[in-house]
């Protein structure tokens, strides 16, 4: 198990390195250099040159990459070109908002999705199953930004129950809670449908297994068979899906934080890209990739924990 954990972590580091290289390549392929955008069209070449030197853009790309990694390892992600603040501090400021959004969104999606999936299995073949199927597929297919905008219209503009923008007052949990409801709803809704379908499919496979027949042969109630015996097996593939989902919250965060004007990683990275604020873009991507890899690695370890067969394969 420990060897496995170490192996997975080393693999994660390698992936992180490759992602950063790809990121570096992509940033330099985007047209427009930061100096011209920062200084506007009427800037003198001298001023531009000065800024380029300050940002280290005149150095060979490989040396830039080397410096970036060297600094990143020591915890220095560089400075925001415009605000002159350390990038790490900006990310750490924004990260908790996105993290909280991700946790809340996936938590409700997971609970409701698994529950609906199990319900569909219990009522398989009945109209209830079909209704749940239609519901799940609609939840998957409606784009989240549509949900976000309509939620905003209904609950913030018409009914005025929830705040339209922001993340709530700092130090006021109630207002923060009210502010997170709609974004978490918008991010989570497609996951509800997705998880419900996933759980239903893997549950149906498990329900045909002999050990489920055994559990039934001992007179266990259908509910107990589904929730204890079948779910324990069927939840395992769902865990990896949820991990991927949690990692990809970044992409959902970009739109949802924009729609709801919520502070967070998404807002940070959108504005940084628009302003060619390279250190911030690089730092954000690095942190989010690292975060994603941590979650996926943890999920792999959790699966090994839940499935004794996986654990034994790893041990040998």
């Amino acid at each position: 198990m420990l060897t496995y954990a170490i192996k997975r972590s080393l693999l994660a580091l390698l992936i992180l390195f490759v992602v950063m290289l790809a990121m570096y390549a992509m940033v330099f392929l985007v047209p427009g250099d930061p100096a011209s955008i920062a200084l506007g069209p009427r800037a003198t070449p001298e001023l531009k040159q000065q800024l380029i030197e300050r940002m280290g853009l005149d150095q060979p790309i490989l040396s830039q990459v080397y410096h970036f990694f060297y600094n990143a390892v020591t915890g220095d992600l560089g400075y925001d070109v415009w605000s002159k603040r350390p990038v790490l501090a900006e990310i750490l400021e924004a990260f908790p908002y996105t993290f909280l959004l991700g946790v809340v969104a996936l938590a409700w999606a997971l609970i409701l999705g698994v529950f609906l999936g199990c319900a569909a299995v219990i009522y398989r073949g009945t109209p209830m199953d079909r209704i749940l199927g239609i519901l799940s597929v609609s939840m998957i297919s409606v784009p989240s930004f549509v949900v976000a905008i309509y939620a905003l219209l209904i609950f913030a503009v018409w009914l005025r129950w929830l705040p339209a923008i922001g993340a709530g007052e700092i130090g006021d949990p109630w207002s923060q809670f009210k502010a997170i409801i709609m974004p978490a709803f918008a991010v989570g809704i497609s996951w509800v449908g997705y998880l419900a379908r996933m759980v239903r499919a893997s549950m149906l496979e498990v329900m045909g297994a002999n050990h489920i027949r055994t559990a039934r042969a001992f007179g266990l109630s259908e509910r107990r068979v589904v929730f204890k015996h079948a779910l324990r097996v069927a939840i395992i593939p769902t865990i990896s899906i949820v991990a991927v989902g949690f990692g990809s919250i970044l992409s959902s965060a970009v739109f949802v934080e924009t729609v709801f004007s919520r502070p967070g990683i998404g807002t940070l990275i959108t504005s940084a890209v628009l302003k060619r604020n390279y250190p911030v873009v690089m730092g954000t991507v690095l942190v989010m990739t690292a975060f994603y890899l941590i979650v996926v690695t943890l999920a792999d370890l959790l699966i090994a924990r839940l499935d004794p067969r996986v654990r034994d394969v790893l041990r040998s």
Partner: protein
């Protein structure tokens, strides 16, 4: 004889296959008394497993009960509601399944499962349930049962798992124990051990044991009475000795003739019963074995054979049985 614990009367079960029905079980009648071991033998597809599934009330969703009933201690179990049927399972009627590799849940420890299977026991604490399960594992010959309780199914050998599933079936002290091909998935050594275990359990077990198998040797070693099945019908029934030494139904005779255990000389080709099972979507008009039977005549092909009583304990479903 005393009142049967389990009595199956005229049971006919079909499987819905869309446009038609597959008649897997046709007018099966059998009974099992306390303290006896009965065997149900027949080749693949003869309805043995359908019968076993019907006894434990776990028929596939597309199964249709066309007629007949199963009486457990005098109550028709099909007339009970779902909840009452469920409570019979495990508690009154328990089952040992064919494939010990997949009988248990792979992600729960054996102990967890054996404790969970006792959920109908009221007023018994988890630790008492654990002790009950551990004792039973010891009873079926598992060395170090308390360690075994902490193991996951894949960590045990096939023989151990089958022992554990027998222990599981005995947990609730059921009155009827159905063993569906209990030794088929095991190698010969393990098979002998499991048969030995089942024989041993007979002595202190009060209820009826029903062994479903295609293996005549298993029946001979374990059972008091046998029901021979063919194409969804019980074709002959009687005491083991009668059936083995004086079979009256041509199918039983043919089956015994094919058992390698009876060969006296080395033979390069194993004998088989010529032909194959009749189409169960449209069962034959007369005797279902007529097409493969060496004795069959026109009467056999057109008229349903009667039950011919040969002795107090033996009878056969055959026109020729009385001759």
């Amino acid at each position: 004889m005393s009142e049967a614990i389990l009595r199956i009367e005229n049971l006919s079960i079909g499987y819905d296959a869309g446009i038609c029905q597959i008649h897997a079980l046709r007018s099966a009648t059998l009974e099992a008394h306390a303290g006896e071991v009965i065997g149900i033998v027949g080749e693949s597809g003869c309805g043995k497993s359908t019968l076993a599934a019907a006894i434990i009330n776990l028929l596939a969703p597309n199964a249709i009960i066309n007629s007949g009933s199963i009486y457990y201690q005098g109550t028709d179990i099909f007339s009970l509601n779902k909840d009452a049927q469920r409570k019979l399972r495990g508690q009154d009627i328990a089952m040992v399944f064919q494939d010990p590799m997949t009988t248990f849940n792979p992600v729960l420890t054996l102990g967890d499962q054996l404790i969970d299977f006792q959920q109908h026991l009221e007023g018994v604490s988890i630790s008492e349930k654990r002790i009950r399960a551990t004792n039973l594992l010891a009873r079926v010959g598992i060395p170090d049962p308390s360690l075994c309780m902490k193991r996951f199914p894949h960590e045990l050998s096939g023989g151990m798992r089958q022992r554990a599933s027998i222990a599981a079936a005995l947990l609730m002290q059921p009155n009827v124990l159905v063993a569906d091909e209990p030794t088929t998935a095991l190698d010969v050594t393990m098979e002998a051990q499991i048969i030995h275990l089942l024989r041993e359990l007979r002595s202190d077990y009060q209820g009826a044991i029903i062994v479903v198998t295609h293996h005549l040797g298993v029946v001979a070693e374990l059972c008091d009475r046998v029901y021979v099945m063919y194409a969804g019908q019980v074709v002959e029934q009687g005491l083991v000795d009668d059936i083995y030494h004086a079979p009256k139904h041509p199918y039983t005779s043919a089956l015994i003739a094919c058992d390698p255990a009876h060969f006296e000389e080395h033979t390069p080709i194993l004998p088989t019963i010529a032909g194959r099972l009749p189409d169960l979507m449209n069962p034959p008009q007369g005797c279902s074995f007529a097409a493969r039977c060496v004795l069959a005549n026109e009467l056999c092909r057109t008229t349903v054979p009667p039950w011919v009583k040969i002795s107090q304990t033996q009878s056969a479903l055959c026109h020729k049985a009385s001759q």
